[in-house]
């Protein structure tokens, strides 16, 4: 069976649709609610789900995701619990592409290949590690290719052409283009350099799809990214914000479904 991530992106590309990639922190506000949140996002139209495995020192994350990760850790959420969440999602959504997003040390502590093999058993299709540059990725790349997991590397607006080409060579699934100089966190607006970075990445990425993330919050943002050529948009803090502000479970579910619907709508235009 082909990797679910590649399969989904191919299918969307054939309809000129942008992929809607949604991020949820495992165990925030609790395990059950993060599971419900994923169900809601999928029913609203999310194409790919990223499960954030909380880490104590998330240097690439802004205050929203930091706080959610911290709260999950305080409640005793471990990488194992996050993977069990993935397992239960996998049972209910057999074809849903599932990525794990975390930091290097979570893998390194247990052993990179061992952790990835176990993640695969739990239904994970690939990894995003914001503090893993290609130079340090030897063991990670080997394990990923052995296990047929997608390795989503990140690129930034200031990544040089030569470097970007090397990143693309190591990437499978999609290239994660960081939209801004900065960390995660919802934004009001974007500058031209973001759009130029998308065009540039698309020019150099060849067959690898480019998804843009960090700061995307509204359908207008999605249209902007799609207009510049993005094959996908990644939404994180905006979702965590909705979850942290919802007053009840029912409200949260409804708000997430509506949010995903409105974002997916923009992905299609």
């Amino acid at each position: 069976m082909p990797n679910r991530i590649a399969a989904r992106l191919d299918e969307l590309a054939s309809r000129s649709e942008c992929a809607l990639v949604c991020y949820v922190v495992a165990g925030y506000p609790d395990v059950k609610m993060s599971q419900d949140a994923i169900d809601s996002l999928v029913s609203g139209g999310a194409d790919i789900i990223e499960i954030g495995i909380p880490f104590s020192d998330p240097i690439a994350d802004g205050p929203t995701i930091q706080a959610a990760s911290h709260s999950a850790l305080e409640k005793g959420v471990t990488p194992e619990k996050a993977l069990q969440l993935a397992k239960s999602i996998r049972k209910r959504h057999p074809d849903l592409p599932l990525l794990a997003m975390t930091y290097c040390n979570i893998l390194v502590r247990v052993g990179v290949e061992k952790f990835m093999a176990h993640a695969k058993e739990c239904g994970i299709d690939g990894f995003i590690l914001p503090d893993m540059p290609i130079e340090e990725a030897g063991a990670y790349l080997q394990a990923a290719s052995k296990l047929d997991l997608s390795m989503v590397f990140l690129a930034s607006p200031n990544t040089s052409e030569a470097r970007l080409k090397n990143i693309v060579k190591s990437t499978s699934g999609f290239l994660y283009l960081v939209s801004v100089y900065g960390i995660t966190g919802a934004r009001k607006s974007f500058e031209d350099y973001t759009l130029n970075a998308i065009k540039n990445a698309k020019r150099l990425a060849g067959a690898i799809p480019v998804a843009v993330g960090f700061g995307i919050k509204t359908p207008a943002h999605v249209r902007l990214m799609k207009g510049a050529g993005a094959d996908g948009v990644i939404i994180g803090s905006a979702i965590v914000d909705i979850m942290s502000k919802s007053s009840s479970k029912a409200k949260m579910a409804k708000e997430l479904v509506n949010f995903a619907k409105s974002m997916k709508q923009a992905c299609k235009k």
Binding site: F55, I59, A60, R109, V110, S160, R163, Y181
Partner: protein, 405 residues
């Protein structure tokens, strides 16, 4: 040759550059700028000017006669980094990096600080070189090192109190890295120890190596030989690496790093990363960490804010593995005792950080012969700590009295 490390950015398997992609160009730029200026005579001349005329180098290598007699073993010499401008060895590194930043055309400097000493060192270097300084400091450290917060502000730096995580040094570093990512085009991150992604561990070591080079020369002048042991405290490990590095290939010189044993290794409340940690990735480097079995970095404890860090420089990790250096721990109690002893016997109030090294050196001296020589790096002075020590002693007396009743 051990001194040839890092090779390809690594100390054996330790070190590396585990950083978000946005920082990759900045780290590359730093690497090539450092390569260029490291061997530039004009840069070295200018740095040397600031180190001598402004900061007061060389610092004395003082024979602590009273302490030596008190212990009754090997001769103990103190490398007096406490007399360096700013009150700690940190100034060696901050002047070096701030000057480099200036050459690179960066005008905004950010830094993290634990005890506040590196923050003060950064603030004064930026002040004299005409750069702006913003310092991240854990809220818990802001509380216990108030004097240094005010000193930084007096020197013109802006201090950001960090409320995330454990609110100490590691979180201050996280926040500084986040700032760097957001302002990568204009900002220079001035790291305060031999930690972080390559080239920082190498560069900070090089700037701090002036300590060891002076020790070597002074020892030759005073005694006509090398010391038998060099002892230094290890937080991130910069004063220790600066003391050790010029001796790495002198196999007869024993190198001892002393970590913070807090309330004892068994209590779990300590910062003894090398003694009790395991391998992992934090702050851009592969090294030893204090972490749980899942890879979450754990909170540390030490009476000294400057040693309260769950990681350690990657070069120390290598030196431990190949057994070129040995690493021990002194507890809070032992550090306080050494703090008081040195104050009484030598009229020197040491910072709590090197008090850990002094405590261990006193034990070591007892095991060695009277002809042996130990050099202890007295990395800073204790003015910043007198309040903490007073509170600690008062509490202890109260406990004692309670016990007596």
């Amino acid at each position: 040759m051990l001194g040839n490390h890092p090779v390809g950015g690594k100390f054996g398997k330790y070190g590396g550059k585990y950083i978000p992609e946005t920082l990759a160009p900045a780290v590359e730029e730093l690497e090539s700028a450092y390569e260029k200026y490291k061997n530039d005579p004009d840069f070295q001349k200018e740095l040397s000017y600031y180190l001598t005329e402004y900061a007061g180098r060389p610092t004395p290598l003082y024979f602590a006669k009273n302490l030596t007699e008190h212990v009754g073993g090997a001769k103990i010499y103190l490398k007096r980094e406490d007399l360096l401008h700013g009150g700690a060895h940190k100034t060696n590194n901050t002047l070096g990096q701030a000057l480099l930043a200036k050459k690179m055309g960066k005008k905004r400097i950010i830094a993290e600080t634990g005890a506040g000493q590196h923050g003060v060192g950064t603030a004064l270097a930026c002040s004299v070189l005409g750069l702006t300084a913003e310092v991240y400091m854990g809220a818990k450290d802001v509380e216990r090192q108030k004097l240094n917060v005010f000193r930084m502000e007096l020197l013109g730096a802006k201090v950001h109190s960090v409320q995330s995580g454990s609110k100490t040094l590691k979180d201050a570093i996280n926040e500084a890295i986040r700032d760097w990512i957001a302002n990568v085009n204009t900002t220079y991150y001035l790291i305060g120890s031999v930690v972080g992604p390559h080239p920082y561990p190498m560069m900070v070591r090089d700037f701090q190596s002036v300590i060891g080079h002076e020790v070597k020369q002074q020892m030759r002048e005073l005694q006509g030989r090398l010391p038998d042991a060099v002892v230094a405290c290890v937080g991130g490990g910069s004063n220790a690496m600066g003391s050790f590095y010029p001796f790495l290939d002198d196999q007869d010189v024993m190198l001892c790093g002393v970590e913070a044993g807090g309330e004892g290794i068994k209590s779990g409340k300590h910062s003894a990363t090398l003694a009790a940690g395991s391998e992992g990735v934090l702050h851009g480097m592969f090294t030893y960490l204090l972490q749980d079995e899942c890879g979450q970095v754990t909170e540390t404890h030490s009476i000294s804010a400057g040693l309260d860090y769950p990681g350690v420089g990657p070069e120390h990790a290598m030196l431990k593995d190949i057994k070129r250096a040995r690493y021990a721990a002194s507890t809070d109690d032992e550090a306080i005792e050494a703090f008081v002893t040195l104050s009484r016997l030598e009229g020197i109030i040491p910072a709590l950080e090197p008090s850990h090294a002094i405590s261990y050196a006193m034990k070591l001296a007892k095991e060695m012969s009277k002809d042996d020589i130990i050099v202890v790096t007295l990395s800073g002075r204790g003015d910043k700590d007198v309040q903490v020590v007073q509170d600690y002693l008062n509490n202890k007396n109260r406990r004692k009295k309670k016990h007596a009743k």
